[in-house]
């Protein structure tokens, strides 16, 4: 026994301690518990994995531990079992490793916020559920983690719950995810119907040996329903709409949950269920198309946003699309490879963005930034590493995994490769644009001696004790409800962040630069066999070229000749408006689903059917009965014996009548 249960239980203990007693702890105790529990969990991951030989060529098969029966009904047995294989190993390392770095960063970022202990309790709870998600050895346990991380996401998006936009965004995230879970749960039902169990090992072993003719139809149904679930959690078309809004949460949350770990759960789940997808006719094709479409459309939106976190949010959606493209074209290991490299550079982008926001006193609009290289050199260089990595500069981590995905796409269908390459160019453009708008040029924010810049910051301290003592300003940026609060403490010039924030940035920067040399596809070979033969070299060169062109163009547009973008916007104002407003997808959903559901429920179901229809009939019956009752008053003799007689007589009449009617049929 490796006592795998300790891995998630340690953060859970941290949650329990901070959640129950944190209000009385000092910040340093809260920090120690929150970061310490995750660090111990990380160490336990290392210890377990090395004991299982993951670092030394072992762990070829699945190692699992059984704890107790969770649900038992008839022949259906669902247990709390944890299992580790090579896929899980990677996820465990990412979740606990990156998770620890982000916890450390958050101790600096959140240091001025109210509800401090609550924040870290939620963060630890998230770690618990995320680790349960990747360790669970059956679909329902995966679902526990799946729903649990959704809950934590809900709680943390709504962390600044005094602000309406935070509550709205939290609800939206939870409910859109529930739509995905709807698909997931239907898939679970089908799996039980056809396999009689939810255990991964049994299900996948059976899939392999099933005759294709009998299984193809419902196997495809299972795969597509699982995909619906994955689309919810991993923000793919058509369920991606919650992720950009989720940026209402504090920035470390965006980095941990909405970039590095939780949103990749869908990718993990599809990779985990690869046997089902491989044997389900046509399912992978749809995975690839969904992924490619998401990558492309999200990238176009990313080109136009001004909120730095929004740019990175759409970038996340787009990069997740790449992962699905990889999965869908059969390159499962490349998809997981991209999960890892993306965790490095996207966590870094968000944490860097947080550092920038911190530096500017809560400002998130890039039009009010600029010239920050003077003030925040460490943030700038680390962000540069992340920017180059995601842009696909050769030899950096992003290029390594993205190229594998694109190569696989080319083998699958060349047009997918070309769309992917074009998207890579856009990716390079928008991240470089964000970088240039932030760090080059002159600082465009206001600088005041005693910190009125802080007015833009939304600090929404949470716990009662902290009340409203921070700077507040209800002014939002032009597109509404998306900036989150930070800072609010008085400050003058932008300033570099403290070491607890910059140290994680530096670690992640190194990982973003060299992470591509960790050969994940090789490591995953026992699970996902590698393709035979080499791909043509020009595929890689073209992809790299697209990235470099994107970088160059963005640099030219935003540093060398800053008037060009405005000109382009004016020329193409109609498509620009569409893209800038995210293709009006939210408005479309509001108009077609949400408003009809609410209005219909209110005016039709409640007022008309329930109150006006059913209840009126009931009360009408009552009135008729009253009239009859008035007539029957004379029978009210007050004698119990006569009542009894009437009851018996009535019953007999009723039975006789009923029998007669039944007989007449």
């Amino acid at each position: 026994m490796q006592q795998l249960w300790l891995i998630p239980l340690l953060p859970l203990a941290g949650f329990a301690l901070n959640g129950l007693l944190g209000r009385r702890f000092s910040k340093s105790v809260v920090n120690l518990i929150a970061c310490g529990s995750v660090f111990l969990s990380f160490l336990w991951v290392l210890k377990s994995l090395s004991a299982l030989g993951a670092f030394s060529g072992g762990l070829q098969d699945t190692y699992s531990e059984h704890y107790f029966t969770w649900i038992q009904s008839g022949a259906l047995n669902i247990s709390v079992d944890f299992a580790v294989d090579r896929l899980t190993s990677i996820m465990l390392m990412i979740v606990t490793g990156i998770g620890f770095l982000i916890h450390v960063y958050a101790t600096g970022y959140m240091s001025h916020e109210g509800g401090y202990y609550r924040f870290f309790a939620y963060l630890n709870l998230f770690m618990f559920f995320m680790l349960t998600l990747v360790l669970g050895a059956n679909f329902l346990l995966l679902f526990v983690g799946w729903e649990g991380v959704g809950l934590c996401s809900y709680l943390l998006i709504g962390f600044y719950f005094l602000e309406k936009f935070a509550g709205d965004a939290a609800n939206k995230a939870f409910i859109v995810n529930r739509v995905g879970d709807f698909g997931f749960s239907l898939a679970v039902f089908l799996i039980v119907i056809h396999f009689g169990t939810l255990d991964f090992n049994t299900v996948f072993a059976k899939v392999k040996t099933m005759p294709v003719e009998t299984s193809a139809g419902w196997l495809t149904a299972i795969a597509l329903l699982l995909l619906v679930g994955a689309c919810g959690k991993s923000a793919q078309i058509p369920l991606y709409v919650w992720l950009p809004d989720a940026m209402a949460g504090p920035t470390p949350v965006s980095a941990l949950i909405h970039a590095a770990t939780m949103v990749t759960a869908g990718v993990y789940m599809v990779a985990r269920s690869s046997q089902i997808f491989l044997h389900a006719h046509g399912a992978l094709n749809i995975v690839a198309i969904v992924g490619l479409a998401t990558a492309f459309f999200a990238a176009t939106i990313g080109l136009t946003q001004f909120d730095i976190k929004k740019v990175y949010a759409y970038s996340t959606v787009s990069q997740l699309g790449y992962m699905f493209l990889g999965l869908g074209t059969g390159a499962f290991s490349a998809g997981i490879f991209h999960v890892m490299t993306h965790a490095f550079f996207k966590a870094l982008l968000f944490l860097g963005a947080g550092s920038v926001i911190h530096a500017c006193g809560g400002e998130q609009d890039m039009r009010k930034m600029g010239g920050l290289r003077k003030y925040t050199p460490i943030t700038m260089y680390t962000l540069l590493a992340a920017t180059l990595a995601i842009a696909g500069v050769p030899f950096l981590s992003g290029a390594a995994s993205k190229d594998l995905i694109l190569e696989s796409a080319y083998e699958y269908a060349p047009w997918m490769y070309w769309v992917g390459v074009f998207t890579a160019g856009m990716t390079a453009f928008y991240v470089t644009r964000a970088f240039c708008m932030t760090f080059f040029g002159e600082y465009r924010g206001e600088i005041s001696a005693h910190g009125s810049t802080a007015g833009h910051g939304h600090s929404a301290p949470a716990a009662a004790a902290h009340g409203d003592d921070h700077g507040h300003d209800d002014k939002h940026d032009d597109h509404g409800h998306d900036d989150n609060g930070h800072g609010g403490h008085g400050h003058g010039e932008p300033h570099e962040s403290p070491l607890v924030m910059t140290a994680p940035l530096m670690v992640l920067a190194v990982l973003s630069l060299v992470g591509g040399f960790i050969n994940i596809p090789k490591f995953l070979e026992p699970m996902f066999p590698l393709h035979e033969g080499e791909s043509a070299a020009w595929l890689e060169y073209t992809a790299s070229a697209a990235g470099l062109i994107g970088i160059a163009l963005a640099y030219f547009f935003y540093v060398v000749a800053p008037s060009i973008p405005d000109g382009i916007v004016k020329t193409f104002s109609i498509p620009y408006r569409w893209i800038y407003n995210k293709y009006f997808v939210d408005e479309f959903y509001d108009a077609t689903i949400i408003n009809p559901a609410i209005d219909g429920s209110r005016s039709l179901l409640w007022r008309a059917v329930d109150a006006g229809g059913i209840d009126r009939i009931v009360n009408g019956t009552g009135q008729v009965a009253q009239c009859i009752g008035g007539f029957l008053r004379r029978f009210q003799s007050g004698s119990i014996r006569s009542y009894a007689a009437w009851v018996v007589l009535g019953s007999i009449l009723l039975i006789a009548y009923a029998g007669f009617m039944g007989g007449a049929k």
Binding site: F68, T69, W70, I71, Q72, S73, G74, A75, L76, N77, S79, L140, V144, E147, G148, L151, L162, E163, A166, G167, D168, A170, N171, F174, I175, R178, D181, F182, S185, L186, V188, F189, L190, V192, I193, H194, G196, D199, A462, A464, G467, A597, I598, G600, S601, L605, W606, D610, I614, V618, N619, A625, S651, L654, I655, A658, G659, G662, G663, K665
Partner: protein, 506 residues
């Protein structure tokens, strides 16, 4: 005199004692009595879980000679947890009413304990006439709880509640008398025996009519769409304790009746009726959720959510699968715990702000963080978040339904999405945002008495969600027997569980 007799009659003694005792000690006495009963009832668990498939603690003696009506009671895996739920919730209801009820205190607690007597009686009766008597006995105290201590439209709601239920139970009485005329006994076990062995054969029409009579009476109690309109009114007008008892245990009388009587007595008819019943259940799930979504009144919202949740229970029952039935019975308990807790918490809010309108709240989390946490956990339990109780029941119901007919599960699962919508929206509008002057002025956090009432339910939510094995085996064993009877004798309509292979044994 068995332990079960004690658990059944202690509330009656308590009722009398409360009437005799001076009003000044009513609260303490009611708490002591109800807690005592709860502790005694815990003694029932071991024996029943050892042999959940047979009746334990059976008492069978003549009550009325002509016609022969027996005092025949017993407890099995199906009724055990419902009895425990009742004895647990009664002291909680007492605690919740501590400050809330300040008029006719003595009478209030007396009725509350009398209600416990009636409800326990319903769950343990094995004589149909006795069952009917308890069914009516439980009606009376609830009628007064709503009618005397309710809100403005209490009389309307109480009368509506009473008449609705009476309309159903008269039909049930007729059916019981007809069964007596055919079998010569009111004894449920004997009747079941005679029907099973074919000693007494009912015509198909008779079966259908009898089934309908029982079914209607139970369906009103559940309440199944479209017989639900008494429920929102009753809940809105009822005092907190009344709402808790009504939602948590009285609605379960209906679903219990379906499982205990409707299915085993008339299996073929149940199969025939299943498509219609399931259609109503599924409509209720979605309809209840949609109507809950737009309610401006908290209690109405929770009441409509009950319509939706109980739809799941009926769906599970009429899926005739092991998972469906297990889930349904588990969901009865879950609903008792989490909706009971919801009504309690709504009551707490009402005691502070004197309004049930959601719009009167907002930002409550700031002055009352603990209340916010407990409400959140209850909300999550209610919307079926894994590791909390609701998930286990909901999952099994849907799993069972999907095995019987996949389309049912698809529509019912929509209710899972919608439950998140209405509950989280309620939570957001109540607890998030900035506290208005009125809210921050009136709302205080939980006091220790309120904690004492809430904590057991919260702990149960986790326990039932994480370790269902404490409760499920007893339920499952008894359900398997019921299903054997239902599916066995309805071979034509058999929809056996589609699980093809036994899950690898552990």
């Amino acid at each position: 005199m068995t332990l079960l007799d004690a658990v059944l009659f202690l509330p009656l003694l308590g009722f009398i004692a409360l009437l005799i005792a001076p009003a000044s000690v009513s609260r303490m006495a009611a708490l002591a009595i109800s807690l005592g009963i709860f502790v005694v009832s815990l003694g029932l668990i071991g024996t029943v879980t050892d042999a959940p498939g047979v009746y334990s603690f059976v008492s069978n003696s003549q009550w009325i000679d002509v016609p022969s009506i027996k005092y025949h009671v017993g407890l099995d895996g199906l009724s055990l947890w419902l009895v425990i739920l009742t004895t647990l919730l009664t002291p909680i209801a007492v605690l919740v009413s501590w400050k809330y009820i300040d008029q006719r205190v003595k009478l209030f607690y007396a009725f509350l304990i009398l209600l416990e007597f009636g409800v326990i009686g319903v769950f343990v009766s094995l004589d149909l006439f006795l069952f009917y008597v308890f069914w009516e006995v439980s009606l009376v105290p609830m009628y007064f709880l709503i009618g005397i201590w309710g809100h403005e439209r209490r009389i309307y709601a109480a009368v509506k509640f009473f008449l609705y239920t009476m309309a159903g139970s008269v039909l049930m009485l007729a059916a019981i008398i007809y069964l007596y005329s055919q079998t010569g006994t009111f004894d449920y076990v004997a009747i079941l025996q005679k029907l099973t062995t074919g000693q007494v054969a009912l015509t198909a029409q008779a079966q259908m009519l009898l089934f309908l009579a029982f079914f209607l009476s139970f369906a009103i109690k559940v309440p199944l769409f479209p017989l639900h309109t008494w429920l929102p009114d009753a809940h809105v007008e009822a005092p907190t304790a009344g709402s808790i008892m009504l939602a948590s245990v009285m609605l379960k009388m209906g679903t219990y009746g379906l499982v205990r009587f409707c299915l085993p007595l008339f299996p073929e008819t149940a199969h025939k009726a299943a498509p219609c019943v399931v259609a109503l259940a599924v409509i209720g799930i979605v309809y209840g959720a949609l109507v809950a979504l737009v309610q401006p009144n908290m209690k109405k919202l929770v009441a409509y959510s009950s319509v939706s949740h109980l739809g799941f229970v009926v769906l599970g029952i009429f899926s005739f699968t092991q998972q469906g039935l297990d889930g349904a019975v588990y969901q009865m308990l879950n609903h008792g715990v989490s909706t009971g807790a919801l009504f309690m918490l709504v009551g707490y809010l009402y005691e502070r702000q004197h309004s049930l309108e959601i719009s009167a709240y907002g930002g409550v989390a700031t002055p009352a963080p603990n209340l916010a946490v407990v409400f959140l956990i209850t909300t999550l339990a209610s919307i079926g978040l894994p590791v909390l109780n609701g998930f286990v029941g909901e999952y099994l119901v849907l799993q069972g339904a999907s095995q019987a007919n996949f389309t049912w599960a698809v529509f019912a699962a929509l209710g899972v999405i919608l439950s998140a919508c209405y509950m989280l929206w309620l939570y957001q509008r109540t607890f998030y945002g900035r506290a208005s002057h009125s809210v921050s002025h009136h709302i205080t956090d939980l006091n220790s008495r309120e904690w004492a009432a809430a904590l057991p339910l919260v702990l149960l939510m986790f326990w039932m969600g994480i370790y269902s094995q404490s409760f499920m085996p007893a339920i499952s064993t008894q359900n398997a027997l019921i299903l054997q009877r239902v599916n066995g004798s309805a071979a034509a309509a058999l929809q056996a569980p589609v699980v093809k292979e036994v899950a690898n044994a552990r």
